[in-house]
Subunit: 241 residues, 2 copies
């Protein structure tokens, strides 16, 4: 049977693709992290859900693969199905389930939905970096921050903070400030596409001393990014005036 | 009035978000590049369209801003509304149109839709780079390729080729090969989400000698990317087995 790995976007019905909606509607059971399952229950109250708490990704994927041996399943992820999502893990764990067809359904990841809230910071080349060092050595994250800053990418930071990592955004800003000007236009969006959505545009110098939580996505402009009528806008290139 | 800048994804109805569909349905006129307007005409045959050929982006945005003084307009972009799209330019040209409210509508850019076709290459940190040097000095592109490779990002290449730049992908691969192994898992997808969609998974060494066209999006894995059951999969981190 089919196991859809569905990226549902920010969490509103409007932010989903029609393909994602169709996948969920055609599934016998929807599997996901409790918070995301609750969001989707509001949109699809007639569907059957199975949810597990945070950090139990492997158990969730295993359950979805088992279920997909007998019926059609959607494993749901916020944003995209792959970007810091579950599709990769599903493929990695798919040995032993040859009868299950894995179908990733792309969704609007926070880099894109947050971008639309702030204006147009991601017009040109960009790099996406997670500050979580749960599965990645911190030195690798630091190297990526350095290299992306040196090459003047617009940078999107996922997982900028958590209880255990409350100073990670500050440390990241200090690294970026070695290459980027402290006046670099930055922005962040919290709870993208949800009722409590909030956003702010500020400088890299100000961002360094900001407290953000794990529901926040942070945008650090390139050298050309500017504020136009209160929006964060990156031009299409370096010759584009 | 409102000027929606709508990213419609790959071009199929399924690949659009519900928000994008609603924006188009609520608009009095849809403005876009001829090829994209033709794609949307198939889905929304009852709507009024205005299209201009390639390269006439400024004329198109000017027309959309003028029209939006009197009615609701959607300016359409393939993929996302901002990523190598028109939202930034619309903000840049919006002086003199204080009565027009610009609303970017995020969409599934080729990095995400192509990712879902290939498997899950973008599970972890990634960089998006356009090889077009129309508005960006070639040295800047080269610097980004170097820095992104050095930091072991998965790299997505947009605009990998054109008639005038037929050797750019080869040159890009040669730069990446200075940092990445020639066995690095790569993939490309052509005409994502359209009838003629085709994809291939290959090594970086093979990619160097490949001919691709401007409708192709190229994915270059990080050091952990592997092939699982014919799919291109990047694990969630460096400690994730």
């Amino acid at each position: 049977m089919t196991l859809y790995i569905v990226g549902f976007g920010g969490g509103s019905h409007e932010g989903m693709t029609i393909e994602a909606e169709n996948a969920i509607l055609s599934s016998d059971i929807i599997v996901g992290y409790t918070v995301y399952a609750d969001l989707m229950k509001e949109i699809f109250p007639e569907k059957e859900f199975f949810s597990t708490p945070m950090m139990q990704e492997r158990e969730r994927v295993r359950y979805a693969l088992e279920k997909a041996c007998e019926c059609t399943v959607s494993l749901i992820c916020s944003g995209d199905s792959t970007v810091y999502g579950m599709a990769g893990l599903a493929y990695q764990m798919s040995d032993g389930y040859p009868q299950v067809k894995i179908v990733p359904v792309a969704g609007v990841t926070a880099a894109l939905s947050g971008n639309a809230v702030l204006g147009a910071p991601l017009t040109h080349d960009f790099a996406v970096i997670s500050l979580s060092d749960l599965l990645t050595p911190y030195e690798k994250i630091e190297c990526r921050l350095r290299c992306a800053s040196e090459a003047d990418f617009t940078i999107v930071l996922y997982n900028p903070s958590s209880k255990k990592r409350s100073d990670y955004l500050k440390k990241a800003c200090e690294i970026m400030l070695q290459y980027k000007n402290e006046d670099t236009v930055c922005g962040y969006v919290r709870n993208i596409g949800r009722k409590e959505e909030e956003s702010r545009i500020l400088t890299l110098g100000e961002l360094k001393d900001c407290c953000v939580d794990m529901f926040t996505t942070v945008f650090v402009g390139n050298s050309q990014t500017r504020i136009i009528n209160g929006k964060m806008v990156t031009p299409r290139g370096y010759r584009d005036v």
